[in-house]
Subunit: 493 residues, 2 copies
Amino acid sequence: MFAKDFSHLYSDECNRRTADKLGSLIEYAKIPNISFLGNGLPQSKFFPWQSISATSPLPPFNEGIESCDKSTDTFSIQVMKNDNSNSQAGTCGEKSFNLAKGLQYQPVVGQQSVLDFIREHLKLVHEVGTNYQDWDVILSLGNCQAFDSILRTFCNPGDYILAEEYSFSSSILTAKTQGVQPVPLKMDEHGIVPEYLIELLENWPVNLKKPKLLYTIPTGQNPLSYSLSLERKKIIYDVLQKHDVLIVEDEPYYFLQTGEYQQKSERKEVKFNSHNEFIDSLAKSFLSLDTDGRVLRLESYSKTLAPGLRLGFIAASSAITKQLARYNTMSIMTPSSFSQIFLNELLNSWKQEGYLDWLIGLRHEYTIKRDGSLDFLLENVPKQLIEQKIVKISPPVAGMFFTIELNAKKHPNYTGDKISIETHINEKLIEGGVVVAPGSWFAVQNPEEFKHIVSDDSENEYIFFRLTFAANDLPQIEEGIEKVIKVITSEFQ
Amino acid sequence: MFAKDFSHLYSDECNRRTADKLGSLIEYAKIPNISFLGNGLPQSKFFPWQSISATSPLPPFNEGIESCDKSTDTFSIQVMKNDNSNSQAGTCGEKSFNLAKGLQYQPVVGQQSVLDFIREHLKLVHEVGTNYQDWDVILSLGNCQAFDSILRTFCNPGDYILAEEYSFSSSILTAKTQGVQPVPLKMDEHGIVPEYLIELLENWPVNLKKPKLLYTIPTGQNPLSYSLSLERKKIIYDVLQKHDVLIVEDEPYYFLQTGEYQQKSERKEVKFNSHNEFIDSLAKSFLSLDTDGRVLRLESYSKTLAPGLRLGFIAASSAITKQLARYNTMSIMTPSSFSQIFLNELLNSWKQEGYLDWLIGLRHEYTIKRDGSLDFLLENVPKQLIEQKIVKISPPVAGMFFTIELNAKKHPNYTGDKISIETHINEKLIEGGVVVAPGSWFAVQNPEEFKHIVSDDSENEYIFFRLTFAANDLPQIEEGIEKVIKVITSEFQ
């Protein structure tokens, strides 16, 4: 089975992209005995780095990864410049690439050994290639850059896309900046409501262009921390298939699946007896359901390794990754070689098993942080605020965030405008020494031309604040939550 | 003096850009005793790198940089993760930033100490800040990404820009892909002909939008290797000032100024007695002439250090760098931390003097390569081909390239279409085992609506091929040139 052709969805810009003939010259350089006077490549002898090295923690992280920072259970990699034989270039043998090659101009899609590792990983976790075979991977600079490049490949100014009604504000702004209008989809506590999506698409105004793609954060949704169930994913996939809409799944939090929150007394530590057990515990992705080549999966190493790597990838049909590569040739080229080298040496030293060990360790740490934060919150928020439904708390199953919902109508200052209550409380929170993110900042507004068609949010009395348990240790998080509770209690007394 | 306001030239996309409120939260994190539950920052203890290090050659490179590759005259830098005190984070003391900070989300414009070094360098070389004071620097991923971001900040589809009639094809394609039309400017052996520019702008069709910017490669122009004289730069600046056009100077080859080619017998080795003597030898940039904040200067470390760094910068008025930063927030964020760390440690270890030493060394190496290539070419190309003006050779004064011009009309197959001769000869060159770049690949075509207004190139009988002396050692270059001469001689016998 092969991916369907989605070229009818390409943007005008994408259709104008042509390959630079100059880029094709480099292929000749590989032919033996050819004299290459084609491209302006600086010689590697003038690269002022003779060798680089790094020290990293060693799997299987039996002591957890909390202490890996100070652990002496480490290994070092070293990558030399001048080894002509790739097998001695670095610590990972033939999977290493030396600095002479590594610091030269690179293939736009990424270094082969990095891509190979990612492909293998995607097969393990998402069984990619079973539904359709012409899939591929291209490196990105993280999901922001990935989404920017996707929008420019599929959307023209004036086009519509679909997005969760509360979504990552930066992605929404990126679309709007390009003149692309996000149309919000209603959510409940399980994410996008499929019935709403169906109704919206069935009744899409005939005078308006159909949406090009759905932008969704299925796992540990930002800001609401919901995870979309497999059942809903299947329905949504079918609906979007019917309406010829692409799916962009933005998955920075995929490996932060902390599972259902259990009350402290009933809590059992989750232990995985094998890597397969861990993989089986993970949410089924849109990518794994994809039979058409309709899904573009965005993953980032920002949350699993480090944001400063500025590295992630897009998995999609090879027809689509080719178009994205063309765009990259005219903008970013490819991620930094130093980032690619360090990622390559780390992953190929760890191997697939070691990387999964790391992810299991990360899940463990985030579960402790999630549980500790929610325990503290639920124990300390005044019971009557919960009973009177002034405060609603839905423990997250994945991601870095949890939310506190507040019934704006119950606030003494309420005069019909719940956002002014949100602003007021946010000011009080800052005065109280705690910084959180107000929910309205994430709201995707209905475009003007949709306002009469779809129901708005006005009957919903709740506002919310997004809090993260990612950025601090538990004692600091508890301190922050305590400040939040103090403000809320004083505001709604 | 302050920069002029160029906001009337912003693109629609630029005018739609708004700051993400979420980004502003991070400012609060710096306040003492604040509980930060705002942004989803992963904790640095989960970054799987405890330390990184690198070994580099040590200035003043008295033995030249040719052998720096194998030199034992080196120094090593090491950057640790966990040092809380910045002064112990790396080898460069307080100019270092540790991995805990370095691998976290970064300021979009770049790390302070990297920017400080670049600012200092620009003051030394271009006396920036004398003509107007509110200038600034933002890091880029190299000049391709820099130009992409500038086009998206100033140009709408349907806009015009100005470019040299032969120019870097990738930049021209980037503009065209965005629906922006480059209008070619006539050149002679000193670059853009100012009189042509004046006439073009004075007679710009009233029904067409005025061009937004000039895209120029002033030093070691690609593909023609010309360098624009100071005299012409002043005239061009004045003309563009009058017509409200910005100047984007793309300067990847700025430090490859190899000077006038001297015949072998008359050649004297250029020695600089001081750094100032070297700086004085460099071409005056548009940036150094800029009184309005009209110039955006693009520099890249791809040619001076290594392409794999994926790092460069844009120097411009701070009002403009702010707009570029907004775009980066929605796409690349900022260059890789590993690249920034290694660049920072290298430059701050070398210091300004050491970096200038490196650049002097680089100039020396490229001069040897330029001289050797041209010596070989001029000595071996049959004299009668030169005398009959079948072959024209203009030795370059800067950059990585030289060209061989051929009179297509003198080719036996010529039937009025010189490009078919170019294609034919290019095929013969590849058959002959040498890869060069055909000149027509760099041609900027007049847009349809300009064809009746400006003269075209049809009276020019010459075609040309661009050759580089960058990518190989001299013996290999000579081998390539020999193959080229063989083909030319056989084709025009």
